[in-house]
């Protein structure tokens, strides 16, 4: 016994240490810090407020521009400091919105407008309407209708636009001249006719227009958007099969695909093109016309392409020729975290970033994006190239279009795009059957998202 005791004690000690170590490790993994902050306060000289701002910009010119804007804000609001976190992806934002600790962001900007529906409907981002009302900001006179549309869900303005993207047509002027075409197409019929005229041989060397739905920025939503379709009925049900847009769009595209050599041939050309940003087919002179966003102006200038090019509004359906000048719009959005304890300071920051004309103009000039307020769009300080004017006009156009936000992360956009891909490849041959199935899938997805 006298010999066994120390051994047992040793084992007990070792066991106790093992338990303690396990518990310590567990506790360390689970420990969080208490949330402390000045909820509702905009800070004071002796006690400034620091807010955390997550954004997705990462390039040196982008960071310089956003940091300059933040510095401008801090100068104007010396009691509010901004802790900016760069290069935050959409997935990380989702996780950040679910977090409640002290390191969770107060203000978030998101490149994905598809997130707006879920952040509004779940309440993850607060409704900014009362704050704008209090500060006498009338969003309808400050922002363009399309931009207001993609930043709200069912009247809940949980986000605001922070610069935008507008889409238009890029065309190779030299190729147009060589083909004897004097001006860019304005309707879908003209687009198809010009596409055929501009195609040399089988299109391997020069294709007039790539009509496939998975070609860079081109997709069913952006091209179909020119019809200004009604995606949902008044009671919120999917309206794809009932809207005349989609059969007309798919018929137009199928016809053009056939004229340019058929799907298999075009698919081979498309997959042979380089990456959208590293080796874009338009930049390489392989495609004469292309739907693209305003940022390609800067890309083309940086690439110092050897041909003359120009921009124009994207064509519209023949029966809506009067609406020529409209375009698809999307863009970066910014909102305030529901869990933020510093919402008053956060709102001051969001207000500055989204409505201060000087800040918006400087930012737009620096990163070649479209300003997101009507005043900034008209600012004489905008120093963007003349080819950029097309996109400023699209943004100003009251008939420009976008897609409505839905609580399932805009699931209908993907469902519609997948249908377009199936139709162009021949996997689906019955357009109406495909649209009806798409309606069912959209309704199921929305019902699932709305389960509460």
């Amino acid at each position: 016994m006298s010999i066994a005791q120390p051994a047992r004690r040793g084992r007990r000690t070792a066991a106790a240490l093992a338990v303690a170590a396990s518990l310590a490790l567990t506790a360390a993994a689970c420990t969080g810090q208490p949330n402390s902050g000045a909820q509702g306060s905009t800070g004071s000289t002796d006690k400034p407020v620091t807010i955390t701002f997550w954004h997705g910009w990462s390039q040196p010119n982008e960071l310089a521009a956003i940091n300059a804007n933040i510095a401008g804000f801090e100068k104007l609001h010396p009691n509010i400091k901004v802790n900016a976190v760069k290069a935050v992806s959409a997935d990380t934002i989702t996780q950040g919105m679910r977090a409640t600790g002290a390191n969770a962001p107060d203000v978030v900007s998101d490149f994905s407008t598809t997130d707006v529906g879920k952040f509004c409907s779940t309440g993850a981002w607060i409704d900014l309407n009362p704050l704008m009302e209090k500060d006498k900001i009338d969003p309808k006179t400050v922002f363009s209708p399309a931009m207001l549309s993609y930043t709200q869900y069912k009247g809940d303005q949980c986000s605001l636009p922070l610069l935008g993207d507008a889409y238009g047509l890029y065309y190779n002027v030299d190729m147009f001249k060589a083909a004897g075409i004097a001006s860019p197409p304005k309707t879908y019929s003209e687009l198809a006719a010009d596409a055929v005229k501009l195609t040399k041989g089988d299109g391997s060397q020069q294709l007039g227009y790539m009509p496939l739905w998975d070609y860079y920025e081109q997709n069913t939503g952006y091209v179909g958007g020119q019809y200004n379709p009604t995606y949902f009925t008044a009671d919120g049900k999917a309206n794809l099969a009932a809207d005349p847009t989609w059969p007309a769009l798919f018929a137009w595209q199928k016809d053009l695909v056939g004229k340019l050599g058929g799907y298999t041939h075009l698919e081979k050309l498309r997959t042979g093109y380089g990456d959208e940003f590293a080796a874009n087919a338009f930049d390489k002179g392989k495609v004469a016309m292309q739907l693209d966003g305003e940022w390609r102006v800067a890309n083309l200038q940086q690439d110092k392409v050897s041909f003359n090019w120009a921009t124009a509004p994207f064509p519209v359906p023949d029966d809506q020729a009067a609406s020529y000048g409209r375009g698809f719009q999307t863009g970066t959005v910014i909102g305030i975290n529901r869990n933020s304890q510093k919402q008053a300071a956060a709102w001051e920051f969001v207000k500055y970033m989204t409505t201060n004309t000087g800040a918006l103009v400087t930012f737009a000039n620096a990163i070649d994006n479209v300003p997101s307020t009507i005043a900034a769009l008209k600012s004489p300080d905008l120093k963007l190239p003349s080819t950029f004017q097309t996109f400023l006009n699209v943004a100003k156009n009251p008939n420009s279009v976008t897609q409505p936000a839905t609580p399932d992360g805009d699931g209908y956009v993907t469902i519609l795009q997948n249908l377009g891909l199936d139709l162009q490849s021949g996997k689906q041959t019955d357009v109406m059957a495909g649209l009806k199935k798409a309606d069912t899938d959209v309704d199921n997805s929305l019902a699932q998202a709305a389960t509460n």
Partner: protein
């Protein structure tokens, strides 16, 4: 000693028996309890880890599969709605399931056959074994994302050197990662390129087969095929089963390569206003783990539905493993 006698010796009277047992049994029980406590204490790091990282998540997953839960608001009980949605309404679940099962059957089978083949060849060759061992093992060390991007570049249908070479030889030029019919075979090629892990395991197993068994078989007139069939295979069967079971489990979790290949081959990057949607081309690279991530953390924020898919994946992995282990018992003649 006295206590031992009292414990094992005959009991003269019932009262004595009670009197004799009474002081001993509690002591024994105390000893057992002490030993149990000590064992549990030593096991506690693992037990706590198991509870936190396996039992708790599994129970939570089952719980949330019956809840509507977006991660922002408290969960609401919705009964079997998530299950109905995933199994009968979600447009991507069965596509992802078919793709994953295709990969499990084709990729695992080919990896085992290829790994065993390469391992056998390298153990047989007399010169340059070191070089070939290194050459076949090195690709396994390449980070999956980098390797997939490299393959997507090499197999680009229009600009990749592979199709250029095939064209020069007058052979058909597949669409590889851009063709729904070729995208999964391309992923299998990528997996075969990184066969180094299985090759090393099989080489170790092959070198462990007793040479006297080969000698005896040769003396009995067995040819190379018969020696492989009746000597090599039975000896390395546990290793083959290990490779199959771990391969099935890994392939059921197949995510990175499919996601990267689809994104690179599509030529588009997720930018302003849109996210990359998995499965390019034509949903052919959708896998179940991608669906879990997409449902829970991307477009839908539907953690309840993501939990349903995770549980289906878990049950599938358990079923495959159980089936293979039973099959192994039959093959090995185990009880």
């Amino acid at each position: 000693m006295s206590s031992t006698t009292a414990e094992t010796g005959p009991s003269p009277t019932p009262s004595r028996a009670r009197a004799g047992k009474s002081p001993v049994a509690p002591a024994l029980r105390r000893k057992h309890r002490r030993e149990l406590r000590v064992a549990l204490a030593f096991l506690s790091p693992w037990l706590i880890g198991f509870a936190i990282f396996f039992a708790y998540p599994l129970i939570s997953t089952v719980y949330f599969s019956f809840m509507h839960y977006d991660g922002y608001n408290p969960p609401n009980f919705v009964g079997t709605k998530n299950w109905t949605y995933i199994l009968t309404e979600n447009p991507y679940f069965w596509t992802a399931m078919r793709n994953t099962l295709w990969l499990v059957v084709v990729m695992v089978t080919l990896r085992v056959i290829f790994g065993l083949g390469i391992g056998t060849l390298i153990t047989k060759i007399k010169t340059g074994a070191g070089f070939f061992r290194t050459a076949f093992y090195l690709p396994y060390l390449a980070p999956p994302v980098a390797a997939t991007i490299g393959f997507a570049f090499l197999l680009n249908p229009g600009t990749g050197p592979v199709n250029h070479l095939l064209g020069e030889l007058g052979l058909p030029q597949p669409g590889w990662f851009n063709d729904p019919n070729w995208s999964k075979p391309s992923l299998v090629l990528l997996a075969l390129w990184g066969i180094g892990d299985l090759m090393v395991i099989f080489m170790a197993a092959l070198l462990d087969v007793p040479t006297e068994q080969y000698e005896a078989a040769s003396l009995d007139g067995a040819g190379p095929f018969q020696r492989f069939r009746y000597v090599t295979l039975p000896n390395i069967m546990p290793i083959i089963m290990f490779a199959v079971v771990t391969g099935v489990i890994q392939t059921l979790q197949y995510y990175t390569q499919a996601m990267v290949a689809g994104q690179v081959a599509s030529g588009t990057l997720s930018g302003s206003g849109q996210n990359y949607f998995p499965g390019y081309p034509g949903g052919s690279t959708w896998t179940v783990p991608q669906l879990v991530y997409n449902l829970g953390f991307q477009s839908n924020d539907d953690i309840g539905a993501a939990c349903v898919v995770s549980l289906v994946l878990f049950v599938l992995a358990m079923a495959f493993t159980s089936l293979l282990m039973r099959r192994r018992a039959g093959l090995m003649g185990d009880d």
